[in-house]
Symmetry: C2
Subunit: 314 residues, 2 copies
C-alpha cells in the first residue's frame, strides 16, 4: 500500500536534519521536499541557493558536519587564490561547492528552470526524494536594519547577524508563483501530511508561506499540517531565530512559533523542555526530544511527526 | 640612462618563454608586453584569457611546467565535482586558475576594462612589467573546418587541433581598437625595439597585427621590429603552427614565417638549423639557438634579440 506523499517545507541546516530523518523512514517516492529560496543570492557571478544545497548535501551524505555548512572533503584553493588577487572572500565557497553553483548558473543562463536543474543535481548526487524550490521565480529576502535595507546573506554571513533587524521583505514574492508540483501535492486527496521543518519561521518558512496560494492551500489541505518548533527553551539550536524574534518584538518561544502557524497547523511538535507552552497552543501537541544530534535523533523525530499526522488523519 | 621601452607582442606558451627571458634581462619599466586576446572565450559563465593568463603565470613563476598550461600547486576539486554533476569538463580549469577567471568576469560585469583588470592581477601576483591585452574590445578567433566555423578553443582544446583548418577569422577585429597605450608605445621616439615573440603567426600574432592601425604603426615605427621564428626545422616546438601552415597552403618554415612579417620587420632571429632559410629573408638576420629549454636559454635569446635591435638602431 502506498501511504500517500509527505510534503516537507524546509530551510537550511535545522530543517535539513528533519528532512534527512524523513528521507530515512519514508520510501523516496513518498517524500517531497520544498526548499526556501529566499536566501538565494548572486555572488561572484553565480547563483547560490543555500537551502537547496544544504538539503542536497545533507540527503546525499555529503554535508560538512564540522563546518555546519558546505561540503565534506572540500578544498579551498579557489578562495585562497581569490584572496591573493584581491577578490571578495567574505562568503566562503569551497572548490567542490562552487562547481554546483557554476553549473546551476550556466543552466539558468540557458533558460532551464531552477527546479529542473535542482532535480538533475539531486539525481546525480544520489538523493532519492524529489526536492523542489518553492518557486522557479526569484524571491529575495531583504532585512531592514539601522543602516537601511540589506540582502540576507550580507546580514547572515558578512555581518554575522550582528545588525538589529527592524523589518523583513521578500522581494518578488507578490508575483512569484509557487511551484505547480508543490501546489498539486497540497491538493492531492491522498497527501499523507505536510511537515513544516524546524527552520527559522521568519526567514526560512515565511517566504514559502508568503507565496500566493500557499497559505490558503495549506489551510484547505485535506492532510494534517504538522510543524516542529525550532525553538527549545527560548533559544534557537543554531542561527539568529531567537534574536530576530526579540528584535521584531516577540519573545522567542515554541509558543510564539506556533502562533505564526496558527491558521494552518493541525499538529505541533515541541521539546519536552517547553511543556509549559503546550497548553496555550491551538493544535494537537506532542512533546518530544527535538534536539537532533545523532542520525537516530533525526529518524526518531521524523517518526514522531508522522505518527502525529497519522493520528490526526485517522 | 633609460634605454627606452621594448614592446613585445606575444601569444601563449612559446611567446611567454621569450617574454620571461626579456623580463629577466630588462628592468620592469623598460618592458611592455602585448597579449593576443583572440583566443579568449566565454565558458562556464566566465571569461578566460589564455594568453594573458599564461604570460602572468609564467612571469610570476606560477606556471605549471609539468602540464604546460595553467598554474602550479593546482587542485582539481572543482572540475572533479563538475564532472560528477554532469557539467562540461573538456576545458580543464584548476581551482586556483578558476579564481582568476571568476574575479576577471566579476570586474568586467562591473564595467572595468580588461586592461585595468589585467594590470590589477599582474600587480597582485608580483609581475613587474606592464602587460596589456592587445585591445579592450572583444576579438574572437574562429576557424573554418570541414564541419563549418568553430571557436578557437573548440578546435584547440576540445578537438585537440584534429580538424583541417580551411580559413581563419578574427571576429570583431574590424571595429576593435588597439589599446591606446600600445599604439602610444609604438609611436614613442625613444622606443628601443618591438619584439614579435615566437608565437603562432596565424592565430597568436595575426590578431594583434590585424587590429586597425597596428600594421601601419609597426611599419612606420622608428624602433627596429624584430621577429623570432617559432618554426625550427619545419616543425613547431609546440602546438598546431606547422599543421595550420600546411593546411592553409604554405610549407611551414622559418622563411614562411618571415614572409608573413615582411612589411614590418627589420630583423629576424631564426634557428641555426634553418641557416638555409636566412638568405631568402628580406631583413637583417641572426642565427641563434631558439629552442628555449632552460631559464638561461630564455635569457640568452632575449639578449640576442635586443642586441640585434640595438645594432639595427645604431
Amino acid at each position: 500500500m502506498n501511504a500517500g506523499q509527505v510534503a516537507a517545507l524546509s530551510g537550511g541546516v535545522g530543517g535539513a536534519k528533519l528532512a534527512l530523518g524523513l528521507s530515512r523512514v519514508l520510501p523516496a517516492d513518498e517524500l517531497l521536499l520544498i526548499a526556501n529560496t529566499g536566501d538565494d543570492f548572486e555572488h561572484l557571478g553565480v547563483t547560490i541557493c543555500p537551502d537547496i544545497d544544504t538539503l542536497i548535501y545533507t540527503l546525499a551524505g555529503l554535508a560538512n558536519l564540522e563546518l555546519g555548512w558546505g561540503r565534506q572533503d572540500e578544498t579551498w584553493s579557489f578562495m585562497e587564490t581569490l584572496g591573493a588577487i584581491g577578490g571578495e572572500t567574505w562568503f566562503r565557497l569551497g572548490d567542490r561547492d562552487l562547481a554546483l553553483h557554476v553549473e546551476r548558473t550556466r543552466r539558468l543562463a540557458l533558460g532551464e528552470s531552477l527546479s529542473a536543474i535542482t532535480d538533475h543535481v539531486r539525481a546525480r548526487l544520489g538523493v532519492g526524494p524529489r526536492l523542489l524550490p518553492m518557486s522557479d521565480d526569484r524571491v529575495r529576502t531583504r532585512l531592514r536594519t539601522d543602516d537601511g535595507w540589506i540582502d540576507f546573506q550580507d546580514y547572515f554571513v558578512r555581518q554575522q547577524c550582528r545588525p538589529m533587524v527592524r523589518d523583513l521583505a521578500f522581494v518578488g514574492v507578490e508575483t512569484a508563483r509557487a511551484h505547480p508540483t508543490f501546489l498539486a501535492a497540497l491538493a492531492a486527496p491522498d497527501l499523507r501530511a505536510v511537515v513544516i521543518c524546524p527552520s527559522n519561521p521568519l526567514i526560512s518558512v515565511e517566504p514559502i508561506l508568503a507565496l500566493k496560494d500557499v497559505r490558503a492551500a495549506l489551510a484547505a489541505c485535506a492532510a494534517p499540517v504538522i510543524a516542529v518548533s525550532p525553538i527549545i527553551g527560548g533559544r534557537a539550536v543554531k542561527g539568529p531565530t531567537a534574536k530576530m524574534f526579540t528584535e521584531l518584538g516577540t519573545e522567542p518561544s515554541a509558543r510564539a512559533v506556533a502562533e505564526r502557524y496558527a491558521d494552518i497547523i493541525d499538529g505541533y511538535v515541541l521539546d519536552f523542555e517547553d511543556a509549559a507552552d503546550a497548553r496555550a497552543i491551538d493544535a494537537r501537541v506532542v512533546l518530544a526530544r527535538t534536539l537532533m544530534i545523532s542520525l537516530e535523533d533525526r529518524e526518531d523525530l521524523a517518526r514522531v511527526v508522522l505518527r502525529l499526522a497519522d493520528e490526526i488523519r485517522a
